[in-house]
């Protein structure tokens, strides 16, 4: 076919012009493809990390705000909360036998008051609510150590008492009997005062003393004096000993624990999507636990480890990564298990709500706020607003600048193609005039010129796509890592914050996924550019009168 050969010859034999046109179109298309891919990559990264509630499959979270205390006074409206959190009492006597190791976990409601699970039904009934799940997130105090032994040692005895007493004087008859006895046993030495060392010497009231040996004397004492009996009361005394405090190693650590409705793996305080290792909680809700990556690292837990909570053994079945937005807990249990452990049967403190459509989120939010005046309703946007970091900037940048750049690139490509087509027609006026002189109709000339431009557009599009894909793959391979972080304090979404303020940082390697749509758009742009250029050139060619064209000097 002559016309096709002519077209090919024009492209091949005017190589410089063709190459310049292809470069212009190709670079334009490549830029559009690369920027669109980059933009898509940033969007994807943003969706992944910047929309934390979406990360837990939720549009809204409903929590119970502490009632405002109208009574005034210090502490203000948080009295309920303070009371609820005052219940940590460590009763050592109940921990076990002294010297044994004990572990105990206390569960506190944190900054969020609990409410009856049945209240969730009220929310589920609101128009526009597609699904509702509940969670119980608690602040846990973990105590572990040895029950202390308290020993006091007291030594008694060893004191000396001196007791002095007057003995009763023997009666006259007793005295006579005694003398008679002594006389009888010791007839010689009965005269003269007694100088013996006997105990009674000093007390004799005159009348002579006793002489002779002790044995005889002993025998002759009246009966009442042979056996002396008296009462003696020891002095009362109080023993005091300062006891050293008992040695113990009880450690208290705080962590957060979340009760998950494990029957909704796509929506809840934690979702199956967050599991990085292992698996999600089984729907049956057995004694299983998920732990956050950070908590697992700190406590050397891994999938299969046992987690003992107040005597119950929970098997760690999965490690979860935190979603951005700060509502991560350290440990997750099936809701019912946590309720039992924490003695909070039938209670929850957060309701996760999914709206039936994204458009109805704000309407649902208002409806919940109206139905439950005490409820605090937070939407994704509230949370997303707390997130900052390079990803946010990059994403915002890609949105504004990316679109602008794409338009500029596409426009530049069009302009280049159109200008080259025009200039090419301008240089070929004589040639086109000759064709007309040969008898080519206007339509044939236009068709030929437009065909060339379209062919250039197709080639430029293919070239641009290849180039764009290479750039996108390059970004995938060598792209920078973007991060997003959010700091959650006491006011954070799920109320885990008290004392456990944390910064969740999420890093995403920048990628540029190449969508079929992007490729189609890029190629379409090249074709369109070619067509615009071709039309521009062809219109100019069509206006030529053969005589005028031939008059044109090269």
């Amino acid at each position: 076919m002559f016309y096709v050969r002519y077209l090919r010859n024009e492209l091949v034999r005017r190589r410089t012009r063709t190459v310049v046109t292809l470069l212009g179109l190709g670079l334009g298309v490549a830029l559009v493809v690369a920027i669109s891919s980059l933009s898509a990559g940033l969007d994807q990264a943003q969706r992944k990390t910047l929309n934390p509630l979406a990360g837990i499959g939720t549009d809204l979270t409903v929590t119970l705000a502490p009632a405002q205390d109208t009574g005034g006074g210090f502490g203000g409206g948080n009295r309920d909360l303070i009371q609820a959190n005052q219940s940590v009492i460590t009763d050592l006597s109940k921990l076990g036998k002294p010297g044994t190791h004990f572990v105990h976990d206390f569960f506190l409601p944190g900054t969020q008051l609990t409410f009856q699970q049945t209240e969730a039904k009220q929310i589920a009934a609101i128009d526009g609510v597609a699904q509702v799940t509940q969670g119980l997130t608690l602040l846990a105090e973990h105590q572990e150590g040895i029950v202390p032994k308290i020993v006091a040692s007291i030594k008694t005895g060893g004191q000396t008492y001196r007791i002095q007493r007057n003995l009763p004087r023997p009666s006259a008859s007793e005295f006579q009997a005694m003398q008679a006895c002594l006389q009888k046993l010791n007839p010689q030495g009965s005269t003269g005062p007694s100088t013996g060392s006997g105990g009674f010497g000093g007390r004799s009231n005159g009348g002579g003393g006793f002489r002779g040996d002790r044995g005889a004397f002993q025998k002759c004492l009246p009966k009442s004096l042979q056996r002396f009996r008296t009462n003696f009361t020891t002095p009362q005394q109080t023993l005091k000993q300062v006891l050293d405090p008992p040695q113990t190693n009880i450690k208290t650590t705080a962590y957060t624990i979340g009760g998950v409705d494990q029957t909704h793996p796509a929506m809840g305080v934690v979702t199956a999507a967050q599991v990085t290792k292992g698996r999600f909680l089984a729907a049956a809700g057995g004694k299983e636990a998920l732990v956050s990556g950070a908590y697992a690292a700190k406590n050397t837990l891994k999938v299969g480890s046992k987690l003992i909570l107040n005597g119950s053994s929970f098997t760690v079945v999965g490690i979860v990564g935190p979603p951005l937005g700060g509502q991560s807990a350290d440990v997750y249990l099936p809701l019912a298990q946590l309720q039992t452990l924490a003695n909070q049967q039938g209670l929850a403190n957060v309701v996760l709500v999914r709206a039936s459509s994204s458009a109805s989120v704000s309407q649902v939010q208002k409806a919940i706020e109206a139905a439950l005046p005490q409820a605090q309703v937070a939407s994704s946007k509230d949370v997303a607003d707390k997130i900052s970091g390079s990803l946010v900037s990059a994403s915002n940048l890609s949105h504004s600048l990316g679109i602008a750049l794409s338009i500029v690139a596409a426009a530049a490509a069009f302009l280049i193609a159109a200008l080259l087509a025009l200039s090419s027609v301008g240089k070929r006026v004589r040639e086109l005039g000759t064709l007309k002189a040969l008898g080519w109709t206007q339509r044939m000339v236009v068709r030929q010129v437009a065909g060339e431009s379209l062919a250039t557009g197709v080639l430029g599009g293919v070239f641009g796509l290849v180039l764009g894909v290479i750039v996108a793959l390059g970004i995938d391979a060598f792209g920078p890592t973007l991060s997003a972080s959010s700091t959650s304090g006491s006011g954070d979404l799920l109320g885990l914050g008290t004392g456990v303020a944390r910064t969740a940082t999420s890093s995403v390697s920048l990628s540029a996924p190449i969508g079929v749509t992007v490729l189609a758009i890029g190629f379409g742009l090249a074709l369109l550019g070619g067509l615009i250029a071709g039309t521009a050139g062809a219109l100019r060619a069509a206006r030529l009168r053969p005589a005028d064209a031939l008059r044109q000097v090269d």
Binding site: F2, Y3, Y6, E431, K436, T441, Q442, R545, A547
Partner: protein, 227 residues
Amino acid sequence: MAQYSVRNAQKLFQRGPATVRALDGVDLEIEEGEFVALEGPSGSGKTTLLQLLGALDRPSGGTIEFEGRDLATLPDRELATLRLRSFGFVFQQFNLIPTLTAVENVEAKLAPTGGGRERALELLGEVGLAERAEHLPAHMSGGEQQRVAIARALSVDPRVVLADEPTGNLDSKTGGEIIELLAGLAVEHGSTVIVATHDASLAARAPRRVQMRDGALAGGLAAPAVH
């Protein structure tokens, strides 16, 4: 009835504020099969008249009847058809398509008529360029290029061959060969030949010479070209 019947043909060009009368009331009749030389200095209106006769342009006034049809009033499409099937042009600058080989340049004329490569090669043979068929114009001499142009013009067996200074860019020897070729082939193909030239020796080969001065014919309406 004459093949061409030109009555009071006028052509005005606007050059800025001034109006240039390129043709100012030309009357001319040309019979089928004639070999006519349009003579005159540059600017006398030869090329303009040739373009009107070849349906490359429309007159500003008057009529140009070709085989009974007024070229001034025919629609563009019909003029294109006439140029394709009835006229063959040979230009001073050869006007070959630079990206096409010799044979492809001939095909450019034949393609819209459905003619093909074989016919183009046949014509190149007639002008003695069979072996140069695959050469690009840039690789051919002026004489060779003009021969390709003649082959192109004659490829559709046109009713009229219009040549505008065909030897103007050639040395006199080559110019002579070209004019011989053109005259000879025109007879073979049964075509009328109208050659515009300022070369008296070339014009002298034509049986009929028409002198032009300032946009008008110096000679009579159908005066035989005899000096």
